[in-house]
Amino acid sequence: MDTLRIRDAQDVEDAVRAAIASEQPLEIVGHGSRRLIGQPMATNAVLELSALNAVTAYEPNELIITVEAGAPLADVQSLIDSKNQQFAFEPMDTSVLLGVSGAGTIGGMIGAGLAGPRRIRAGGARDHLLGAHAVSGFGDSFKTGGRVVKNVTGYDLCKLLAGSWGTLAVMTEVTLKVMPKPESERTLVLRGLDDIAAVRAMTAALGSPYDVSGAAHLPNSAFRAAAGAFSGLGAPGQAVTLLRLEGIAASAADRGHSLGKTLAPFGAVEILQDATSAAVWSSIRDVLPFAADGALGAWPVWRIVCPPAAGGALGQQLARDTGGDVIYDWAGGLIWAALPPRPDAQAALVRQRVEAAGGHAMLVRASELVRRNVDVFHPQSAGVAALSERVRSSFDPKNILNRGRLLRAVAP
């Protein structure tokens, strides 16, 4: 398969136009760190964007950064970190789960749109993408959005690009919102709760005015599976429920005190401070208990998004019925489930349970063979599926970009 290494944005346009003319679908790749996610694609060439890696403009006082899509996420994160800023949605580093190296590119991060624990407070990638330049499947370079936070000029195509897995357009440059890093953080730890009680505790915390920026629960089995990664939490022995508070030190301490009282019915709280707390949350963000090089590394992993209060019962039921293991983020609204390997990744059962709870499930990690046989992305109602296909087609009528990544090809 050809790999076309793009040198500049013009190359992207030329390559897409040539692909349209020759009807040869393209796989859009930055560093390729998320290539293992999605249905196996029906593409004939790879469009590689890693040379589009410049930081066009970083304006800390405007809280924005404009970068080319192929810029390495890690480099951009250290750049903004040097000004004490961050991407508030805590983009997930999928390499831990997938067993590949590197956190990939900015374009890949937005195309995947996988946000971390702070999503409950700060939103997702879609909330932080302010503007983009991209090449559509018409072979046209277009722009959308702008370089300011407050903007309602025209349709907000950024929302569609985030999480579209490269199926609508090839982003060449994006403007993202950056936010000040909190001066301090602390995590309240509750021990020994079952999943349902844990979600109740997290619901109480999120329903408080204490501005909780992370709410996760590790059942004991998941804690054991990744004990090393959670060294700050002590030796596994009991499940842990974690609630993060961020802000100026006096405020985080004050809220921690108040939240501890709110949570008193759930047990005594322990406190983790700054670096220890941060390490725990990055492990949750990257789903370390199910790391590719860990004990459950060979198990398929589902990412389930559901109404948060329903999460405890759903996760508990799934773990029991599948013999799998789960961890909870977003106060129960995000469940990661690693299930014992099966050719169908137990998709029918998972989806039936998840839909009953009002959620949806994506198969983030599975072998190529499994991904060929299973809908990786959650099937939608007929009407929404048809509308989504019309939306896709409005960007890429010839299905040139990442063909087949979102929808399973049904055998004729």
Binding site: D2, T3, L4, R5, R7, D14, A15, R17, A18, A21, S22, N84, Q85, G123, R126, D127, F138, G139, D140, S141, F142, K143, G146, R147, V148, V149, K150, N151, V152, T153, G154, L157, C158, K159, L160, L168, P180, G207, D211, I248, A250, S251, D254, S258, V305, P307, P308, A309, G333, G358, H360, F377, G383, V384, A385, L387, S388, R390, F395, P397
Partner: protein, 497 residues
């Protein structure tokens, strides 16, 4: 009327009686209004310089009725203009002479309050403020707070992606809605998203939000609610120079402080507001900042200290810090009444709505001053300074021949200046008809074509709210055509591996 609307379809107008009868069969009783006198309240929205009676007004009260009305209109090739409370400042709900005005005012019920999932499921005709009021007893509120929140509907907020004073910290409508029920022009009823943080597949909720009623008619919305911050306190800081106030805004953000709200007024706005509400604003300053910090008491106290120090470092000439809720509300009273206050000192005014990078504030103000001299019209400036959203109020008298046209030309120049300074045409009021013809200042034809293709995915006949947002209408078939450029290998020089 300076803005051209799509030509009326005489064939549709000729069938008016039959159309009214067909609509009555779908929406019985008083739900169909066709008398000229009773349609007067629907002739205009918040952009009152423009008026147009619709062909007929329909006020359905069920999703099924909305679906049948749209299906009928779709089949008959009849244009439809959706309307919430009619508070749009950009003419988003301006009727069409040959169109059905579809009012959602009867969708007034909050369907579900779910504190555990921190969401409210509501019908679109419920006002923004009513949502906050419905959950206030449990300490919750709905964060986006457009100034019209007493009157504006949540459906209209979704259509316009409304902002407000607090969106610097809490986001706009798009950051606070999770799902909806939407009826397409075909009559098809779809559910998008729900109580989960994200919906599956493409972010259709994200594209529906801010689509200005061109993609579908929303009949139910799920919004996020938040716990009210423990406390809020405000500083009112005066500056002898606008530049110093702009610098103060930049330094506060630069110091990592995101206030709940950060508003700026210039001298004419300060004077108008003070004369109206007597909030105790200093009258000898060129710019006034109102900075609100919210959160836990200890945090707010600390941030107040930091902001005060920053303001002093920028040469503030006055600084008052609220010590009670009454005082905080008084600081805000003048700002919140700024529009009516300006209405008292001028027979008419135009409210503009561009956004610029924060750092360009002083430059933008200087340009607006020059333009004010050029057009010989007064201007008062009110800004959401924290996010660079300008609301220059252009004062004019519609009874003076030519003044309205001059005011509009002045406004257009301000928006062009915003784009030139790296900003955008509209921060929160929407494009509507008001800024429609300025869209090419910001977007190329290719950019606009891509947006219109998306419209085609929802409404292939272009019957829903035509004449808004896009300066030129194209047929979907024409937009969907792929032009094949060049031969098979247009990039032979590209490195391959």
């Amino acid at each position: 009327m300076a803005i051209m609307m799509p030509a009326s379809d005489q064939a549709v107008l000729d069938r008016r009686d039959a159309i009214v009868a067909a609509l009555r069969a779908i929406v019985p009783g008083e739900g169909v209004i066709d008398s000229a006198a009773e349609m007067i309240p629907y002739e205009s929205d918040g952009l009152m310089a423009y008026r147009q009676p619709p062909m007929v007004v329909v006020l359905p009260d069920t999703t099924e009725q909305v679906s049948r009305v749209l299906k009928y209109c779709g089949e008959q090739g009849i244009k439809v203009v959706p309307r919430g409370s009619g508070t749009s400042l950009s003419g988003g709900a301006l009727p069409l002479a040959d169109g059905v005005l579809l009012g959602l005012g009867k969708f007034k019920r909050i369907r579900e309050i779910d504190f555990d999932n921190r969401v409210v499921v509501t019908e679109p005709g419920v006002t923004n403020l009513a949502i906050s009021q419905a959950v206030a007893h449990a300490g919750f509120y709905y964060a986006p707070d457009p100034s019209s929140q007493i009157a504006c509907s949540i459906g209209g907020n979704v259509a316009e992606n409304s902002g407000g004073v607090h969106c610097l910290k809490y986001g706009m409508t798009t950051n606070n809605v999770l799902g909806c029920e939407i009826v397409l022009m075909s009559g098809e009823i779809l559910r998008i998203g729900g109580k989960s943080a994200e919906n599956a597949g493409y972010d259709l909720m994200g594209i529906i939000t801010g689509s200005e009623g061109l993609l579908g008619v929303i009949t139910e919305i799920t919004v996020r609610i938040l716990q009210k911050p423990e406390t809020a306190r405000a500083l009112m800081v005066g500056f002898a120079e606008v530049e110093a106030a702009g610098e103060c805004v930049a330094r506060i953000i630069g110091a990592g402080i995101i206030p709940g709200g950060m508003e700026m007024m210039d001298k004419p706005a300060i004077h108008a507001a003070e004369a109206f509400v007597h909030a105790g604003y200093p009258l000898d300053v060129e710019a006034l900042l109102i900075i609100e910090l919210d959160g836990p008491g200890v945090e707010v106290d600390e941030l107040i200290r930091r902001v005060e120090a920053i303001a002093q470092g920028c040469g503030s000439t006055t600084c008052q810090i609220s010590t009670s809720e009454a005082e905080r509300n008084l600081f805000w009273a003048g700002r919140k009444a700024a529009f009516p206050a300006v209405g008292r000192i001028s027979p008419d005014y135009l409210c503009m709505d561009g956004t610029i990078p924060r750092g360009a504030l002083p430059k933008a103000l200087a340009r607006i001053r020059d333009l004010s001299a050029k057009y010989d019209l007064r201007v008062a400036n009110v800004f959401h300074a924290g996010d660079g959203n300008l609301h220059p109020l252009i004062l004019y008298d519609a009874n003076q021949p030519g003044e309205m046209e001059r005011a509009e030309a002045f406004g257009a120049d301000i928006l062009r200046c915003c784009v030139e300074l790296g900003g955008v045409l509209t921060g929160e009021h929407g494009v509507g008809i008001e800024k429609r013809d300025l869209m090419p200042e910001m977007f190329s034809e290719i950019d606009l074509n891509q947006q219109q293709r998306l419209k085609c995915a929802f409404d292939a006949q272009g019957l829903l709210n035509p004449g808004k947002v896009f300066p030129t209408l194209h047929r979907c078939a024409e937009l969907g055509r792929v032009h094949v450029h060049g031969g098979k290998l247009a990039f032979p020089e590209l490195p391959r591996f």
